[in-house]
Subunit: 465 residues, 2 copies
């Protein structure tokens, strides 16, 4: 006898109810991606080691899962690394494949590899699992899904406008109020130039990114530690607290500060274009908030950057993205600019659950269950089951003639809304008794009337789906 | 500069066109699974080593991908195994997680682990990737999808009937003519008993399974090698060549042969029930063929077994399944019988492609592209883009005001069916010129007439989808 089975930490089983909800969420996002002209691709779960390693910084590399080579991997093992007990030096000789860590680098690899087939500007979306050997905690898993939409090969700011609207459309379809934070790496570069800390830009943005998360005091402390002088911090801090003004007013304040800084002016012009276009069209559910503390830790962003927060939900970011240059350059294809956004599927799921926003979904239960009394009744019932399935109704015949109580308990536990009873009387009169499991009401109907009634319920539930 | 990027052998990138087709195929299968009352679950991509190892036989174990432990894995490495250069002895000490090899063992683990939440009979489906370190060849990959539907906790033969109909329904929806081969492990056990080779049942069924694939002569040779006497083979061979008779006639032949063999009689009664019920209801596209050479290599099958072949397609099996007992017993939950079927997604895909059976699918291209002439025209066009997206139309604005020729080439290459032209004249008169990219015809319409026209095309294409 084995001990009770378990799954690796940081991974999850999804029950029918959870799976149906995840599929619903993916379907909503996917439908909007397609509506905006993004087409799906998929890449392998594992890539060659050289494709991913070194692309996420040292900390990222450590979180990449490696696949042990098959067969007699010791033949190629690095003997020196073993002798030194150096795991990270040994690994490359025995693990030549690694699990996908995000969807961005595989996308860049895809574009570079298939550049002759791809038609630029290339708008792709990708919804697949990624794996990270991170310490599991609430809302952080070792296997989780990313949902990315990117367009590469176009510099146009219309793409940024469209991606803000895409975020708005998805969250509107989910009925989840959000705030889209907007900023530009160019503005931040301009401010760094004004404050004379351009040489500390990377640690500056890394610390700034935490302004909201750990509080301004701790973020400032981190900047000091990174060698950014207090005078620079004092000069910049007011911009990180521009809470009260409108987005346009914030831009005006920046305009005068960055008057003589080219990169800053360029950032202002870009954000102005995006904000004005969004103003023209309006947003359905999202609020768009120019927030100078948004920095996005990832080094590869070069222009506008986005982050989505659920309103009144302390779950961290529900998604993010931005403009990058040269992403495919790491794979030998240079001069390609791109911009993209990502949805954190697991967090959006948690947000919808917390807000009770999942609709009543079909798919984790049949709409109708026929109870089973014996061979003749089952044959009679199964004919109706087959007829209803042919018309699109999800239904089933309880497989065995066990006690009625047990069969009804099955219907209850699975939340089947209707039960059909066809006992010997019903068979004799070619009828069916239909029972509403919610109200307990039941009615005996002719076979035809029964089919019509069920199809009516079915059509109604399809419409509200 | 890096060399041209590539992906690991046996894996694949899927282009938009391929991904859209795969999604279509999954959607068709999934919709039928749900209609038959099967609910989806998902399990993690990797399981604990002990969950999967030893469940697929020695040959299977060798094909399981192992994940190198993160961090300083050498700390726990088996020094003796290293000293002996024994890779397979070393692996357990440095790789405690392994990639999913099929969906059946994880399902058994799921049921055992969640037995208190699961309501039996439990009908689940699962569509996820699996990984095997197999030698890649045509139609065989190291990463591929399985689509399984199983019901556990019910002995009823109605499940077998339903699963045959489910196969029929899916292939009918795909317009792919198939033959469903049907047999029973009990019949084979009965025949082995009659021939006095019950002690060689496993090698007998393994060789029998190849009767079709490598030909009867080679299969017979393999039986001889496995110690099955020629006299037994001579006695059994006629049953493996019962091609001409109807399914019912074949059962009659067997009936007399197996008269005094309990397990054989039980197999006959079961198949008779299944065949009669299917006869009552009929099949839409599939042919059901009782074939005594069908054995299904997997040891765990105990009752009816199935295999699907495409008619006139030499691709091997498109799916298979059967009745098993005690699958969850390996995880400590005994006395649970189950039956299930599986679809080989990649092979079904190849079959549909070979037969030209994929419909014209949306999703890999927008339905409409607005060309881009400049700021004012783009603003005018984008308003229409947003309005159409709100009404469900997949459309886009070309991101930049490059030469018209280049924009039209983009539409052509992406097979966008309609292009909308809104130049300065159209903007002035609040009109749009709509061009059918297939016929080359174009017409200038008022804004309202344009929207109506596009929505009409859209509704039509939705209907044929």
């Amino acid at each position: 006898m084995q001990k009770k089975p378990a799954i690796p930490k940081g991974t999850r089983d999804f029950s029918p109810r959870e799976t149906v909800r995840r599929k619903y969420l993916i379907r909503v996002i996917e439908e909007k991606f397609q509506r905006y002209g993004y087409a799906p691709i998929e890449t392998p779960s594992f890539e060659n080691r050289s494709t991913l390693m070194g692309k996420y910084g040292e900390a990222g590399d450590r979180l990449i899962f490696q696949i042990l080579d098959s067969g007699d991997f010791l033949k190629r093992a690095d003997k020196d690394a073993w002798a030194q007990g150096n795991s990270s030096a040994l690994a490359p000789s025995i693990a030549s494949k690694v699990l996908r860590y995000d969807l961005t680098v595989p996308f860049a690899r895809y574009v570079a590899q298939h550049q002759s087939e791809v038609c630029f500007p290339f708008k792709r979306y990708q919804i697949q699992a990624v794996w990270r050997a991170d310490r599991p905690q609430k809302g952080r898993f070792r296997e989780f899904y990313q949902c990315d939409a990117d367009v590469v090969g176009a510099d146009s700011l219309w793409q940024e406008v469209e991606l803000v609207q895409l975020y708005d459309d998805v969250f509107n379809a989910l009925h989840l109020p959000v705030c889209i934070r907007l900023n530009s790496r160019k503005l931040l570069a301009g401010l760094a130039e004004v404050a004379g800390i351009s040489d500390r830009f990377a640690p500056f943005t890394t610390a700034l990114d935490k302004w909201d998360k750990i509080g301004s005091q701790k973020a400032v402390a981190e900047m000091r530690q990174a060698g950014i002088p207090q005078s620079a911090i004092d000069a910049l801090a007011p911009f990180f607290e521009l809470d009260t003004a409108s987005n346009q007013q914030r831009l005006e304040v920046l305009e005068s500060t960055l008057k003589s800084v080219a990169v800053g002016q360029s950032g202002i012009a870009e954000l102005r274009f995006i904000l004005e276009r969004i103003q023209d069209h309006g947003l359905k559910i999202a609020e768009l908030d120019l927030d100078l503390t948004l920095a996005r830790g990832l080094d590869y962003y070069t222009g506008a950057i986005f982050e989505v927060l659920g309103k009144g939900i302390a779950l961290g970011s529900l998604g993010g993205g931005g403009r990058y240059d040269e992403l495919t350059g790491i794979f030998g294809l240079s001069g390609i600019s791109g911009v993209g956004i990502s949805f954190g599927l697991d967090r959006v799921y948690l947000a919808l659950e917390a807000r009770g926003l999942f609709p009543d979904l079909a798919g984790d239960k049949p709409q109708l269950l026929f109870v089973h009394f014996g061979a003749a009744e089952a044959a009679y019932s199964y004919r109706l089951v087959a007829a209803l399935r042919d018309r699109g109704v999800s239904c089933e015949l309880y497989p065995e003639a066990v006690k009625l109580k047990k069969q009804l308990a099955y219907a209850h536990k699975n939340q089947v809304p209707y039960v059909a009873v066809a006992g010997s009387e019903e068979v004799a009169s070619q009828a069916v008794t239909l029972r509403n499991m919610c109200t307990g009401q039941q009615e005996t109907l002719s076979r035809d009337a029964f089919l019509k009634r069920v199809l009516l319920f079915h059509t109604r539930s399809e419409k509200t789906d």
